[in-house]
Amino acid sequence: MALMPKRVKYRKYQRGRIKGNATRGNFVSFGEFGLQSLGPGRISGRQIEAGRVAATHFLHREGKVFIRIFPHRSVSSKPLETRMGKGKGEPDYWVAHIKPGTIIYEIGGVPEDVARAALNRVAHKMPVRCRFVKRRHVG
């Protein structure tokens, strides 16, 4: 089941632009390894779910996968064979706006080579360029 909000204040959003870099959620804080986006983009609920499934299947229920993003914004679309006009389309799917530097997934409880292989599979399902990162410890 793709991720989507339970309650929202507004059903429809304007597209907007993704400007700047991530100043929050840009370091690994739950697991030991993470997948960091290198560019801006919109990741849909289905893509997030596809990434989670890819990671958990590869890990065979070992370790833990953390999803650090959530699709808060709706994307509307018009039905097929409809003339233009007659107002904005209905919400079609939900997306997370991603800025460069955002940690998308984290993995903990597995060795580095396993986490790297799992997140490599996840990265192929993402619409943005990603890289593997490790938790930075103090000192």
Partner: protein, 211 residues
């Protein structure tokens, strides 16, 4: 602790974003030095030397400022949005016989017995706060977890610390736990069951108007 370099710092009068950016473009890192109830001093360090010191996990830096060499404790390091480049460092004045509170990494050693029985190891705490002398800050705390069986956990109080080092973090806080696999599967099943199945989310605004 291994030998540290003495970093040459240059004082800086101008502060602010623009000045800091100019410094970084010249291969320097803006630094603030504070502590011991003295006036804070703004300075700049060579990026390469500083990065090398931090890469070697050195907490105590020897810094030469205005012809005087002193030891400073690294309090905070700020990185850029990708977490690659150092953009600012906080240094604290310390006496070498002073006891300080610092965060130290916890490293788990060995594979627990419980994992061989089918459990899943989870590390809940990756850093603990310790109090120790400035000159003897441990690089990491190693925890042997081979004896942990399924369902058992290791708490922060059970960590073996070096001499003259005491724990500041909650001693009851679990560092590592070996979970039984069925519990993990049950948790995931609950999460999936809780997932909303409606095609459209509930409206907050609409509820208010009805009231």
């Amino acid at each position: 602790m291994t030998e540290t370099l003495v970093l040459k710092a240059e004082g800086r009068d101008k502060t602010g974003t623009r000045e800091a950016r100019r410094l970084r473009s010249r291969g320097k890192v803006p630094v603030i030095i504070y502590g011991h109830k003295q006036e804070p001093v703004s300075a700049a360090l060579n990026y390469h030397d500083l990065a090398l010191e931090l890469q070697h996990h050195h907490r105590l830096l020897g810094v030469e400022l205005n012809g005087k060499t002193e030891q400073f404790l690294v309090k905070d390091v700020q990185y850029d949005y990708l977490g690659d480049t150092i953009i600012h460092v906080d240094l604290a004045r310390v006496n070498l016989d002073e006891r300080v509170q610092v965060m130290v990494e916890v490293v788990l050693k060995g594979i627990p017995e419980g994992v061989h029985e089918g459990g899943v190891l989870a590390q809940l705490l990756t850093e603990v706060e310790l109090e120790c002398k400035v000159t003897s800050i441990p690089e990491q705390v190693r925890a042997n977890i081979v004896h942990l069986k399924a369902g058992e956990s290791l708490t922060a109080g059970e960590l073996e610390l070096p001499e003259m080092v005491s724990l500041v973090s909650d001693a009851k806080a679990p560092v590592a736990i070996v979970r039984v696999k069925s519990e993990e599967a049950a948790e995931e099943a609950v999460e999936e069951a809780e997932a909303p199945e409606t095609a459209e989310p509930e409206m907050i605004a609409r509820e208010k108007t009805e009231e």
